[in-house]
Amino acid sequence: MDFAGAYSPENLKFLMEGLGMTLYVAFFAIIFSFVIGCFAGVIRYMKIPVLSQVLAVVVEILRNLPLLLIIFFVQFAVPQISFFGIQFKFTIPVGAIIALTLFEAAMISEIVRAGLNSIPKGQVEAARSSGLGTVQTLWHIVLPQGLRRMVPPLVSQFISLLKDTSLAVIVALAELMHNAQIIMGQNHNYPIPILLLVAMIYFVVNYTLSLISRRLETRTV
């Protein structure tokens, strides 16, 4: 083991560049998957015909596949499929964002649906009978309460997402884990020091996220 060599300024800088890419990909994937997941969850909660069933199938398939497979498929198989004559091609970071978004949006839609379903039906009926429309009921009554309950599972999903960006090493996305592997490949005394350091980096970022969420929870309750 060679801690001094492994933690040379050049290596640390290289790891920080990787962290930058990890955060960049995670940031966009979190935003997109949250928006898409919310829409999908609401559609399924409202049981909009056809759309709801189609989503149910798509969500169930995405949720039950390994993310590794989805990342590889989006990057290298999708460009070979022609959708009615249109072909899609992505750079590596964009492909990773799309794959993560697809997978995490499926997870989030289930969280949203469960959160909405946890609001007692009586409240919905009361709101409706007081003259509110379906959308108004959802917006003013169900969503505000449901969102509060969704915060903890959502945050743990975002933490998963941040960790999951590391799986994009298989398409050689230059994120934290990938850069770590390049450094580890240079010297057989580096793996343990580098793995410890990288673990600490992920831990600090994720633990901060979960602390924020705990604060949010206590504030809203």
């Binding site: 290298f76 070979q80 390049i182 057989h188």
Partner: protein, 279 residues
């Protein structure tokens, strides 16, 4: 809706999805499908128009393509090769954009048009020829032996049934050496680094694999050297998208010129440490 109903609905939908997928078309194995791409010089024209060569190289292979975390630069034989080809095709060796490929991603990236060519220690094989087009051989690798300097083993002829050979698991090199020297003792390791450590610890007399990889180890520790002539052929080629014969010709012309004006030998010497052996 009951659970059972829901599950059967899911099954039906999935089957429908499979059928739709089945009916869809892929453009795979049909790289000349697009009208623009049926032109065998399309890629070459595109490169010239762009004024830049996009080359897939490895970032983790010593001597051929290795990223230096300090400078952020990728360095190696394959990288220099890319610059030399940029000089030959575009007249300026700096007009190169490198993209990282791995053994797993290099062919998909080529077929999807992410890179113009792949220079990444890629052995020319018949199976790969069906997928991509190769240039002439730009590096003649072959299985060879790494020994401690001063070892009595100076080539495959010195290996006997009493010699202990170190190798990496799952590599074809094990079959090859067992075929050459029946009854030879082979110790298998998970990766080359472990095998090299075992050689240093004296657990065997020689380590065998592609000489290109062995040169990388010898560069790591000058007490070790690659001995003898390679006893198998691993010809490395530069891969381009299938059908792009215009680009292949341009690459081959670049290679021929490099060999003629001595810059190839220089490059070889720079990374491998000696002049290429003429076969």
């Amino acid at each position: 809706m009951s659970n059972k109903k829901r599950f059967s609905l899911l099954l039906v939908c999935m089957m429908a999805l499979v059928m739709v997928l089945g009916a869809c078309s892929t453009t795979k194995t049909n790289p000349s499908g697009g009208s623009a791409e049926s032109n065998t010089a399309a890629q070459l024209d595109q490169i010239k128009q762009r004024g830049k060569l996009i080359v897939g190289v490895k970032y983790d292979t010593k001597l051929f393509g290795l990223k230096d975390p300090g400078s952020g630069k990728v360095e190696g034989f394959d990288v220099d090769m890319a610059h030399a080809l940029a000089k030959s095709i575009l007249g300026d060796e700096s007009k190169v954009e490198l993209k990282e490929v791995t053994s797993k991603t290099r062919i998909p990236m080529l077929n999807n048009g992410d890179v113009d060519m792949v220079i990444a220690t890629m052995t020319i094989t018949d199976a790969r020829k069906k997928e991509v087009d190769f240039s002439d051989v730009y590096f003649q690798a072959g299985q060879s032996l790494l020994v401690k300097k001063g070892s009595p083993i100076q080539g495959i002829e010195d290996v006997t049934a009493d010699t202990t050979i170190l190798a990496a698991k799952g590599a074809t090199s094990i079959d090859n050496i067992e075929e050459k020297v029946p009854g030879v003792k082979v110790l298998e390791f998970d990766n080359y680094q472990d095998a090299f450590n075992a050689l240093k610890a004296g657990q065997g007399e020689a380590l065998t694999t592609d000489d290109a990889i062995l040169y990388g180890m010898a560069a790591q520790d000058p007490n070790y050297e690659v001995v003898g002539k390679p006893f198998t052929d691993e010809p490395y080629g530069i891969a381009v998208k299938k059908g792009q014969t215009g680009l292949v010709e341009a690459i081959n012309k670049g290679l021929t010129d490099m060999k003629a004006d001595g810059s190839y030998d220089e490059l070889y010497k720079k990374w491998i440490g000696k002049a290429p052996e003429s076969k």
